[in-house]
Symmetry: C2
Subunit: 241 residues, 2 copies
């Protein structure tokens, strides 16, 4: 274990000091403008494993940026089936789908111990009218979100979907300065399966297949991509190419 900044102090870092500045909302802001953004951001105390940030149907007031850890957002249909719409890594926003209906449509839950920055949306809107580059970045992140959701809709085999999912995780970790070939699966198999619309057994069988084919090595949550080119070929390149 390398030395780490304790969570408590980490969660009070301002945008200027936060290592996520190059990915997150402040991207493209001048130092001075960043300070104005900092003023409307509330840092959260750490969320514990499985703790809810907000719940579907609640009135909308804030959007969230992941500071550390990981969150999942899920929707439930009237039959009570839950579907995981996304996993959110540090520097990514969630809660954006609540802007249109003005209430949360999903429930956001922490995976492991995680922290967020909460931003009052009214304040953010006001600030965005004053800071064109903030408005631009906000629109850009929303657009990215649209694109991500759309690319999950294409018809693929279970193998392609899982390979593509591993690749998106890989590239997102890479962007954040972590190893793109070795990382932790913070979510259980069941959650991966649910997100990709397949059975947990299928995920298990595919991991085994990938392993025997020399594409990756998995032990519990420790994932190691051993042949990223082959993984890309397996994904049919629907993901990150």
């Amino acid at each position: 274990m390398a030395a780490q900044i304790p969570l408590a102090s980490q969660s009070f870092l301002k945008c200027g000091q936060c290592s996520l500045g190059k990915l997150c909302l402040p991207l493209g802001l001048e130092r001075q403008d960043m300070h104005r953004l900092e003023e409307i951001i509330e840092s959260s105390a750490p969320y514990r494993e499985n703790e809810k940030v907000y719940e579907a149907e609640q009135g909308f007031n804030r959007i969230y940026a992941v500071k550390s850890g990981m969150f999942k957002t899920l929707v439930a249909d009237p039959q009570g089936n839950e579907h995981i719409v996304g996993f959110h890594l540090p520097g990514e926003l969630f809660g954006l789908d609540a802007i249109y209906p003005q209430k949360y449509v999903s429930t956001a839950i922490s995976l492991g111990t995680s922290t967020v920055c909460a931003i009052n949306y009214r304040d953010l809107e006001d600030l965005a009218t004053k800071l064109p580059s903030l408005q631009r970045q906000l629109m850009s992140l929303m657009s990215k979100e649209v694109h991500t959701s759309q690319s999950l809709n294409v018809d693929q085999t279970a193998e392609q979907k899982l390979a593509a999912f591993m690749l998106t995780l890989s590239s997102r970790y890479k962007q954040r300065g972590y190893s793109p070939t070795r990382f932790n699966l913070s979510m259980p198999r069941r959650d991966i399966a649910n997100h990709l619309n397949m059975a947990a057994e299928t995920v298990s069988r595919l991991f085994k297949r990938f392993q025997t084919e020399g594409v990756l090595a998995v032990q519990r949550n420790d994932l190691h991509i051993t042949d990223i080119d082959k993984l890309q070929r397996l994904a049919g390149c629907a993901a990150s190419c």
Copy 2:
């Protein structure tokens, strides 16, 4: 056939006169602000059936609002398989997914004869910083887009997916002042099937089943929903409830 405004003159209507004002970008704008929006909008000549508005990989400069008719947007994977990501009705925007990558990621094609309003995105950004209500509406429409794409991802049977799709069309037509129970399917079965990730044969068989169950009546492109409650039950309410 009822008397209709000829396409040519229809396409030069300003937002103030356009019947779509209550759905489209100008929603929430003051009369005066609407005029400023009108100044940056270019009305298009009608697109013919299957004509392209833009193509994937082209540099991004404009977003589009449907004025009349219908458009589809589709993405192609490297194997050349095309996937229809959405159908766009009057008052709906498309091209928003190009903002983040700054190039079009999908190809937009007219179904039948259709017209659009084209809006230079740089100009729109500039104007949005000056008109907070325009910025708000833009964000709201983007958020809606995120939500729409997400709801297509949930795991459903072919029957549920098709029922849900019919219901979304129904409610979108209703919003536009058309009958929610009788409308024209402007797209071929193949396109519906592709969009919902199923075979065209399955769409055909399901339409037949729905028909024998008294839920709807289809003749070629003329669709009549005869029991919308039952259709809603068949959809598992994943769509519009």
